[in-house]
Amino acid sequence: MGDVFLRIENLTKKFGNFTALRDISLEVFEGEFVCFLGPSGCGKTTLLRAIAGLDIQTQGGITQAGRDISVLPPSERDFGIVFQSYALFPNLTVEKNVAYGLESRRARRDETSSRVNELLTLVDLVDQRVKYPSQLSGGQQQRVALARALATSPGLLLLDEPLSALDAKVRTHLRQEIKQLQKRLAVTTIMVTHDQEEALTMADRIVVMNHGVIEQIGTPEEIYAAPASEFVAEFIGTMNFINAAVSGASECAHQGGALQISDNSIESNRAVRLAIRPEDVRLLSVSGSDQPNQTSGQVISVEYLGAFIRVTIQPAGWQEPLLVDASTDLANELEISAGGTVNLSLPAEKILIYQEDS
C-alpha cells in the first residue's frame, strides 16, 4: 500500500444525547478500497457523511492528502459521491448529468464533451447518452451516478450503499464492475454497506463497525478467518458458539464435556465463548481415530444449499446444536439423513476463543 491518504483522528459525533460515533481513528491509504461494514445504526453512514463534510463531526480531526479538512464545507473538499438513491438530476440527460461538475470549470466545450465521452465509455453507457435517468434501469442509473462522481477526477470516491436498491443479479454484476473501475483508476474509495458479501468481495480492507465504534479493521481474509471480537465473529458469515470455562492448560469445559483449545495463556476458571465455523467442523466416517475433540450427535435436519449441505447436529449433552457444512459427496458417503447419528470433531486450531469482558 502507498502513503496514508486519509487520516481520521479521535472522531466523535453526537446527535443530542446520542453518541453516533465514539472516538474513531482510522487511516486509509492511497488507492485503497475500504468498506465500512456494520448493521444499520452502527454509525457507518455518519462516518462517511463526516468525511464528506455533509454532517460535521462533534469532535476530532480529518486530514486528506495532508490537508486538514476537519471543518471545511463539502464544496471545499475533494471527493465524488454516489448515493443509494442515485440522486441523478431527473430533468437532465445522461450526458448533462455527467457533465454537471465540468461545465462551470471554464473548460472548453469540446474538452467537456470528450471527458463525458470518456466516462460514459468507462461505464459502458455511450449509447444511452441522450436519455433521461427515468428511461434507464436501476443499474444503468447507478453507473451514470458513478460516472458523474468520477468526472471531476476527485481524490476520494465515497459510495453510500450504492448497490442496495438494485436486484441481486445486477448487484453482483455491478459489484465487479465498480471494483475493476476502482482498480483501473486507482482512486481511493470508501464504500458504506451493510452487506457482508459485498464488503468481502470488493474491499481491500474492511472496517467493521458496531454501536459507533470500530470493532475490527482488516483484510477480508483476516476479518473472516480471525474475527477480533465476538460481534465480528457473529456478524460475518455463520458461526457456532459454545459457552465454556477454561479448565486447564489448553482445555475448556462445557456442558457437553471438555474441548482442547490452542491457547494455553488463559487463566483457569475464566468464562469464555468458543466459536467455530460450520465448514471447520469435520464429519468422520469412523469414531476412535486420532482426531481430537471428538463427539457424536444426532442429525436434526439437513439443508440442501446447492454446492454443499448444512447439517444441524445435536451432540449428546450439548447446550445447543452445531451447524456443520459438508460437501454433497461426503454427505452421501456418510449417509447423513435426519434422525441418524454422526461422528464429528472440532479441530483445536480452528476454535476461536472470546473472553467475556471483565
Binding site: 465514539r22 472516538d23 430533468n91 461538475g101 427515468s134 477480533a228
Partner: protein, 572 residues
C-alpha cells in the same frame, strides 16, 4: 477488540463547519425573506395588539377597551352570530362535500371532470357574489322568493347559503384527497371477509377519511367565521365579527374597538388553524404509506344516484352564477327584463369604474409574480439551507402564521402599522405596493405549503451531490430545482392571482382613490344600491379568473408533454 479508554478529542469544544460562500449567501437571503415577513406580518400584528390596549388619545388603558367591548351587548351578540354561522355552515358544507367527494372517488358516474370543474367555480368569484345572486333569487322582488315560505333572505339564511357556496370547493378538495388515499387492498380484504357494503363504509371508508373530514370542517369553519363579503351583502341587521370590524373602523372611525374585535376574531381562527395543523400531520402519515389505488366497480343504481346528486349540486352553483350574469344583463330588474350592457358602464357608478378592474388585474399580476418568487425561494431556503436553524425555524413559523390571520384583521393591522406617522414605511400607504404586499402575505401559507411539498419530493441528496461537484447552489436551484418544481410554481402563481382578483377583506382597508379594486368596487356599488352593476363587475372577476385558469391548464399541459420524457420518474 475491546475499546480502549475514550480519549478526549483535540480541544473539548464542539466543532462547527466553516461556512461556504454558498451558506453565507443563503443565510443573507433567508434574512431578507425573514425581514419581509417581519415587516409584512409580525410588526403589523404587533401594532394591532398594542392598539387594542390604547385609547384614541394614545394613552395606555390596559384591557379597558376589552371591558367596554364585552359590556356592549350589540357587539358581544356578534360573537354568537359568528359562531352560529360557522357551525351551521360547517355541518352543511362538509355533508354536501363528503357525498359529492364520495361520488367522485367511489362511483363510476359519468361526467366527473365536468362536475369537478363546476364544483370549483366558487373559488373564482368574490364571496360577495353569491349574496348578490341570492338577493335576485330570494329578495323582496326575487325570482323564486316564494321558496323561502315568507322567511327573510337578509340575515342568517342568506349568509349561510352564501358561505356554503363559497366554502364548498375548499372542503371538496380536502375530502377528495382524503378519500383518494384509500388502499384498494383493504377493500379487497373486507370483501373477501364478506363484509356488507354498509359495514365496509363504516369500518374502512370512514376511518380512512376521518382526518380529511376534521381538516375540512376546520377550514370551512374558519372561512365562514372570518368571511366579510357574504354578511356584508346579505347579512341585513345580522351582525357578525367581520362586519363589526368594518363598521367600527369605516363607519365609526373607532380604530381601538376595531382592534379589539380583531383580536376576538383572531381567537377562533387561530384555534382552528392549530387543530388543523395537528390533524394534517396525521393525514400526511397516512398518505406516505404505499397503497394500491382503488378502482371503483360499476354499479348502475349507485352510479346514477351519485350522478343525480352531482347534477343537483351543480345546479345550485350554476344557478347562483347564472343568476348573477342575468342580473348584470337585465336592463332594469324586475321591471325591464330585456338584456343589455348598461350595467357594465362602471364609469358612471361609484367604486372606481373600469379603472378598478384594470387595477385588480395589475395587482393580481404583481402578486402572482413577486409572491411566487418570494414564497418559492423562501420555502427553498427554509427547506435546503444549512445551519442557521433558529432563523429557518422562525421563518417557517412566520410562513404558517397568515393562515391563522383573517383578512380583515390583517388589513386593519396594516392600517395601524403602515399609516403610523412615525413609520418611515408609511410612504407605502395608499399605494399599489401595499395592496400587493398585503395580498401576498394574506395568502402566503397555502403557497408556502405547496412549495414545501414539491421541494420535499425532490431527492434530498441533490444539494450534496452539487456541493461535491463544487457547483454553486444557485446553479442547481435554477437548473434542477426550478424545472422539477415548475408545476408547483405554476400552481402557486395561479392561486395567488385568483385570490388577488377575488379578495375583499384585507384590501378593503387599504385601497386609495387611485388604487380601487374590482372586488372592492363590487362591495361599494352594492353598498350604494347599484346591485346590478355590482353583479356585472363580480362576473368580470369570474371571467378573468376563469380565463387565467384555462390558460394555466393549457400551460401545464404543454409543459407536461414537453417534459414527460423525464417527469415519469419524479411522479414515482
Amino acid at each position: 477488540m475491546a475499546t480502549t479508554a475514550v480519549q478526549v478529542g483535540k480541544g473539548s469544544g464542539v466543532l462547527k463547519s466553516k461556512s461556504s460562500s454558498d451558506d453565507r449567501v443563503m443565510r443573507l437571503f433567508i434574512l431578507v425573506i425573514g425581514g419581509y415577513l417581519v415587516i409584512a406580518l409580525a410588526l403589523p400584528l404587533y401594532a394591532m395588539f398594542s392598539k387594542s390596549v390604547f385609547n384614541s388619545d394614545g394613552s395606555f388603558v390596559g384591557l379597558s377597551n376589552y371591558f367596554s367591548y364585552f359590556q356592549t351587548p350589540a357587539l358581544v351578540y356578534s360573537i354568537k352570530n359568528s359562531l352560529f354561522v360557522g357551525i351551521i355552515t360547517t355541518l352543511i358544507t362538509v355533508t354536501i362535500a363528503f357525498i359529492l367527494a364520495y361520488g367522485f372517488t367511489r362511483s363510476r358516474m359519468r361526467g366527473k371532470p365536468l362536475f369537478k370543474t363546476i364544483a370549483m367555480i366558487p373559488i373564482l368569484v368574490p364571496s360577495l357574489l353569491p349574496g348578490i345572486a341570492l338577493i335576485y333569487l330570494f329578495g323582496r322582488q326575487g325570482v323564486i322568493n316564494w321558496a323561502l315560505f315568507g322567511n327573510e333572505i337578509y340575515g342568517p339564511i342568506g349568509i349561510i347559503i352564501s358561505e356554503v357556496f363559497f366554502t364548498l370547493p375548499h372542503a371538496l378538495i380536502i375530502i377528495i384527497t382524503g378519500l383518494s388515499i384509500a388502499d384498494a387492498r383493504l377493500y379487497e380484504a373486507a370483501t373477501a371477509l364478506r363484509a356488507s357494503r354498509i359495514r365496509i363504509f363504516f369500518t374502512v371508508t370512514l376511518p380512512g377519511v376521518r382526518y380529511g373530514l376534521i381538516s375540512a370542517a376546520f377550514v370551512v369553519f374558519t372561512l365562514a367565521v372570518t368571511d366579510f363579503g357574504a354578511p356584508k351583502v346579505i347579512g341585513g341587521d345580522f351582525n357578525v365579527l367581520a362586519t363589526d370590524i368594518y363598521k367600527q373602523v369605516i363607519g365609526q372611525q373607532n380604530f381601538e374597538m376595531g382592534a379589539v374585535v380583531s383580536v376576538v376574531l383572531l381567537i377562533p381562527a387561530a384555534l382552528a388553524f392549530f387543530v388543523d395543523r395537528l390533524v394534517q400531520k396525521k393525514q400526511v402519515a397516512l398518505l406516505s404509506a404505499r397503497a394500491v389505488a382503488l378502482e371503483p366497480k360499476p354499479d348502475r343504481r349507485f352510479d346514477n344516484i351519485m350522478l343525480t346528486y352531482a347534477i343537483i349540486v351543480s345546479i345550485f352553483i350554476l344557478g347562483i352564477l347564472g343568476m348573477c350574469q342575468f342580473a348584470a344583463l337585465f336592463k332594469f330588474f324586475p321591471y325591464n327584463l330585456s338584456l343589455g350592457l348598461t350595467n357594465y358602464q362602471f364609469d358612471l357608478m361609484d367604486g372606481g369604474g373600469w379603472n378598478s378592474y384594470f387595477n385588480s388585474i395589475e395587482m393580481a399580476s404583481y402578486t402572482a409574480i413577486f409572491g411566487t418568487i418570494i414564497v418559492f425561494y423562501g420555502a427553498y431556503l427554509v427547506e435546503k439551507g444549512k445551519g442557521f436553524g433558529v432563523i429557518r425555524g422562525a421563518v417557517q413559523f412566520l410562513a404558517m402564521l397568515p393562515m391563522a390571520v383573517p383578512g380583515m384583521v390583517l388589513g386593519l393591522a396594516y392600517i395601524f402599522f403602515f399609516n403610523a406617522p412615525s413609520n418611515p414605511l408609511n410612504v407605502l400607504y395608499h399605494t399599489m405596493a401595499i395592496l400587493v404586499i398585503s395580498t401576498i402575505t394574506h395568502f402566503y401559507t397555502v403557497s408556502h405549503l405547496t412549495a414545501t411539498t414539491a421541494l420535499k419530493q425532490m431527492d434530498a441528496q441533490f444539494e450534496s451531490v452539487a456541493a461535491s461537484l463544487k457547483q454553486p447552489f444557485y446553479r442547481t436551484f435554477l437548473r434542477v430545482t426550478v424545472p422539477v418544481c415548475t408545476p408547483a410554481i405554476l400552481d402557486i402563481s395561479i392561486y395567488l392571482f385568483v385570490n388577488a382578483m377575488t379578495t375583499v377583506s384585507a384590501v378593503v382597508f387599504l385601497y386609495s382613490p387611485h388604487t380601487t379594486l374590482a372586488s372592492v368596487a363590487v362591495l361599494n356599488m352594492d353598498d350604494a344600491g347599484d346591485i346590478a352593476p355590482a353583479a356585472a363587475m363580480g362576473m368580470m372577476i369570474f371571467y378573468t379568473a376563469a380565463g387565467v385558469k384555462v390558460l394555466h391548464y393549457l400551460l401545464s399541459r404543454g409543459i407536461e408533454s414537453r417534459t414527460q420524457a423525464w417527469r415519469i420518474s419524479v411522479a414515482n
